[in-house]
Assembly symmetry: C3
Homo-oligomer: 502 residues x 3
Amino acid sequence: MKKVVIIAVILVSSAPILLSAQTSTTKVKTPSLSQETSACLDCHKQFTPGIVEDWLRSRHSKVTPASALRRPEMERRISAKKVAPPYGNVVVGCYECHGLNPDRHRDNFDHMGFKINVIVSLNDCATCHPVEVKEFSGSKKAHAVGNLTKNPIYHTLVETVISKKAVKEGKIVQLNVSDFTQMETCFSCHGTEVKVGGMQEVETKMGKIEVPALTQWPNQGTGRINPDGSLGACSACHARHEFSIEVARKPYTCAQCHLEPDVPAWNVYHESKHGNIYHSNHQKWNFNAVPWKVGKDFQSPTCATCHNSLITGPDGKKVAERSHDFGSRLWVRLFGLIYSHPQPKHGDTSLLRNKEGLPLPTAFTGEIATEGLLGQDEQTKRRNLVSGICNRCHSTSWVNRHFEKLENTIQEVDSLTLASTLLLVEAWNHGLAEGLPHGKNPFDEAIEQMWIRQWLFYANSVKYASAMTGAPDYATFKNGWWNLTENLQQIKDWMELKRKAK
Amino acid sequence: MKKVVIIAVILVSSAPILLSAQTSTTKVKTPSLSQETSACLDCHKQFTPGIVEDWLRSRHSKVTPASALRRPEMERRISAKKVAPPYGNVVVGCYECHGLNPDRHRDNFDHMGFKINVIVSLNDCATCHPVEVKEFSGSKKAHAVGNLTKNPIYHTLVETVISKKAVKEGKIVQLNVSDFTQMETCFSCHGTEVKVGGMQEVETKMGKIEVPALTQWPNQGTGRINPDGSLGACSACHARHEFSIEVARKPYTCAQCHLEPDVPAWNVYHESKHGNIYHSNHQKWNFNAVPWKVGKDFQSPTCATCHNSLITGPDGKKVAERSHDFGSRLWVRLFGLIYSHPQPKHGDTSLLRNKEGLPLPTAFTGEIATEGLLGQDEQTKRRNLVSGICNRCHSTSWVNRHFEKLENTIQEVDSLTLASTLLLVEAWNHGLAEGLPHGKNPFDEAIEQMWIRQWLFYANSVKYASAMTGAPDYATFKNGWWNLTENLQQIKDWMELKRKAK
Amino acid sequence: MKKVVIIAVILVSSAPILLSAQTSTTKVKTPSLSQETSACLDCHKQFTPGIVEDWLRSRHSKVTPASALRRPEMERRISAKKVAPPYGNVVVGCYECHGLNPDRHRDNFDHMGFKINVIVSLNDCATCHPVEVKEFSGSKKAHAVGNLTKNPIYHTLVETVISKKAVKEGKIVQLNVSDFTQMETCFSCHGTEVKVGGMQEVETKMGKIEVPALTQWPNQGTGRINPDGSLGACSACHARHEFSIEVARKPYTCAQCHLEPDVPAWNVYHESKHGNIYHSNHQKWNFNAVPWKVGKDFQSPTCATCHNSLITGPDGKKVAERSHDFGSRLWVRLFGLIYSHPQPKHGDTSLLRNKEGLPLPTAFTGEIATEGLLGQDEQTKRRNLVSGICNRCHSTSWVNRHFEKLENTIQEVDSLTLASTLLLVEAWNHGLAEGLPHGKNPFDEAIEQMWIRQWLFYANSVKYASAMTGAPDYATFKNGWWNLTENLQQIKDWMELKRKAK
């Protein structure tokens, strides 16, 4: 009954004019607000004012797709050739996003008389940003869920780490993994599969309302499987509801997932000369310019500069194309699984096969997969592209030496991973631990955990430090060479003690 | 003799007009400067100019209590109903704070002809801010010293960690704990008991002067026991002498004490979406507004938003009352001692009793204390309050799911603490280590240290990551599930080696 | 052929007027650009626009040495008494730095018709900044390469950590150290010896060009041995090509090398009250003022304030002289090798001799070297200087207590290092490990690695936390007392297990 009254109030009062009365941080001229969005705002400015204010700061609230399309191509932030009515001539408001493609959305529900999706999916964003969505869809980021869950080896590692445990008769027993713990550990970055389990009633400040009961939700992981079947969450990097290019370009966004000990990109950046200059001077830079001009808009790169933004010189000449396939500029995959290797051709890494027939990019003893990895030509092409970005500030010989050094580093630290692998094999063969040869979990004993540290934490740290022009401590004492060396010694020590205690 | 001359100079020259000649970053009109404060400034602008300049930036230097009281109640930064003469009509200068309640202050001394307290105590600040002082006085923060020192279990842990040690005949011998080390470790955050040990002569740039000889000083710990007997240091968060609300609201203030590995609130925040938005955009926010308006003054919360600030919507409607009892909005205490539990009813946690009769919130095997913890109703009320803050930006179902997840996480990681506790008990029972059953220190052997890591570092990290809407690495690899799992295995491994070496 | 044409184009077109056509972030009047620099800019604004834009932001691009010399002495950023023609009356452009002293530079080469040095050396910067160069040249920073490589003990530690390793017949075998790994680990901060190995052809966007083939390059380490024989890289802290005093004064610059776990100055600062105030308020400060005025230009110190900047009061009265010998204000060297000790008299620490005749500042059991360390008088003088800086904001008794506390802390944590050393000696004597008494590497076994952690990571953390007015977590749980205590126990535990397994 209450609900009915509320809807009636909205229907009577939801006119664009209402917005002018609101308390807003920004004065906006909003002749082009859709009627539906006006209705949304009318309630939500009272009940969730934070996101309304956030949206009011956004470009979405100020620009219509039609006007966005009038910009010169290089300056455009929209990749559709045209945006069909009714969307072209209204600003991009609540309903323009949450009301799209209702038939595809299993999370669509009747909300105050409107058909609303809880989740705005990758496919919805494609209405205006189809090129970005297409690029992203082929990337490892889009396949981040399946790359963990469909791969039995990675899956075992995940389960070993995040399963509940108990001690029974002096033994550690591995129990099940809860949905909630998945959501906030591995799959917080990788994404969850959001399913709709019927409707539920929730008690809100407006009274009781019915909303879809979503599982594995909330989640903004990069490869989220949406209720419309699409893969990916744009909001992983473009935080709701300002969707600011500035936030996405600043390193804190990537830092949410790419950080020590396993992927210490943020930590290495912070400690590098690039990071030093960023931290010291970034207040004076322009993080909103499209295209993004080297030297003029920024003095030192952030993650986005090298990995995906449309970059030009100060003269406007293109240096690198925008891409939302974040691996598309990269030739080598530093992140060792368990050794570094050429980037996969496709974002779905479960398609890879190593010489043992497993869906891994490298064999246990280091040989790279024969199928599914980039060939030499494509690698060279990509390295030249990235070198070209470095080259806008650094001399050619500087850049060449930098990448020669990186190649050497990869070989050296991978050889320290191999050394630990050979010790582990010896431990397994001598019965000091039970692993692959005995058909047992290779990730759950102390020596196996030390071995995981070698490649997942320490080798990665040194490689990231090397790749990002120097973070001496991450190469040396902070999860670096010190730890590679110390850990190798501890593995050997552990084996000796076990052997003597047998 | 020199001293006498100096005082004479001051008495002759200390007039408000002097201040106009000083080099200051801010032009201030100071008709309402007290004569005493003028005298202070006259010397101190020469001898400690840094704090004078700092004070000149403060609201204290520009506003009299009387004018502060003229603001509408919601905008007021002063909670006294009135401020008695002579304090109401002068700005809040040196003497207005350091000259209060001289009779109560054992640190009061004759300084250049004035009766000065070295330490401005909680009780002194109550002259203008009595509500804040009252709230704070009942909090765990106010009792932070006694909560460590009056509890024999915590006290033993403290002593074990920070006592000097020596090796005598191959054994590690625990020696005494020095005052200085107490001051800069545990009690740097918790606070020290500052006592006055007579007077001492110090050689200053003005010549020799006599000042009180304070013990356990300098210290700005939150629960400092002041020489007037009051508990607390406002300067722990409101840094001298600007006393800026902006500094207190920015997360760096809380971060001084709430950080990894034991209380990783700052680290988790830094890595969360809230932290990302803060770091990317905070330059554009208003950290000085009272009340503090969601969406309008800030886009994402800092610590103060959820824990204590007066928050309203952009429309000025109250969302949460200000409170300086920083635990007063919380229902569950994540920080495990050694398991999570309902928040204590009173800030003095030595009043708690667990089922073993010890002053602990939980028993060794997890049961919560029967006395002194919040009941279910109060817990629900508080959870609703905090949910209401979240709800200004997040939908009700989003918020509900978030707190359901948190509850699950607490149970799961506490069960991993329990698993480690059961192994420890087994080790004690089998003589692999000497602990409680043998009447020995339960915190000083290797297995005991591993056990402490389980609840103090790793379980806390996962719980904080969960509570603060996601910091995937602190939940997973960085002191999270990885470490809970690895540590449990190492405890078991250690026990096996010990058993075999027996 | 292509090269010839390019040079011809440059010679025809290289006139100052060209610059006016460029896309620049700053409008600059450049009547005083040298003809050579004009030629450089003409190409480099196309090929390396990032560094050209960076330079355009610099003071170098806007001020001639002659005009810099006209400033009052206290405000001067140039220490030469005069700068000889042709350098005095042109702005400091590409050629003014990269064209200096060609005869001394083994890295000088013919580049498009000009004689260019790849590396701008300390000696080149001395043209305008001779006092800074002289100060720096006597410092530990200038001798940072030799201090590692000429000292057989440190050299062994370096080799142990960063050498490649392999497992051969169950043993860990230490292989050689690569140039590249040296460059990006220890010597990334310390500096490399850059040598010229003939010329090489590189493929650039302008076609093939010949450039010197430098070894151990790129490197900006503080003690870099330059191809002209001079020691030091000003660009270690004054990042190319803006050479901003602001960047050098912000803590991120020092943080590149001075960070946890071995030298946790940055981490401690971040967590201290000073760091809190910096992070909260630094946007409002003036990092470019010379002299740098306490209270007026900044509210809390950064590294540069205490260690090397020219500091005055708000009234312009000198508090501390500028010095580019970064150890010159310090009396005690906190960094334990392996115990703290008075600062060395000279930056070349290989001149030191301990009682065992080794080039170390302390003996194995703690006695300080008899030769080469500061005497008591000089220590007192320096302590008074630094106390005078603290004293601009803190009372004399506050400052006195602070430094008394520091002295106590040094003694206490050094005694925990001694305890670990005595256990190590016992292990060596009982054959549990092979070290010095057996003429073996004292840094490569598990117990030795634990011992290194004690002094290099944990003792240092506590000492830095103490010295920098408090970072309670670095003193307690984060590489602090917790770890000193735990590690000591683990050393003892390891010894027992080894003894029983023998």
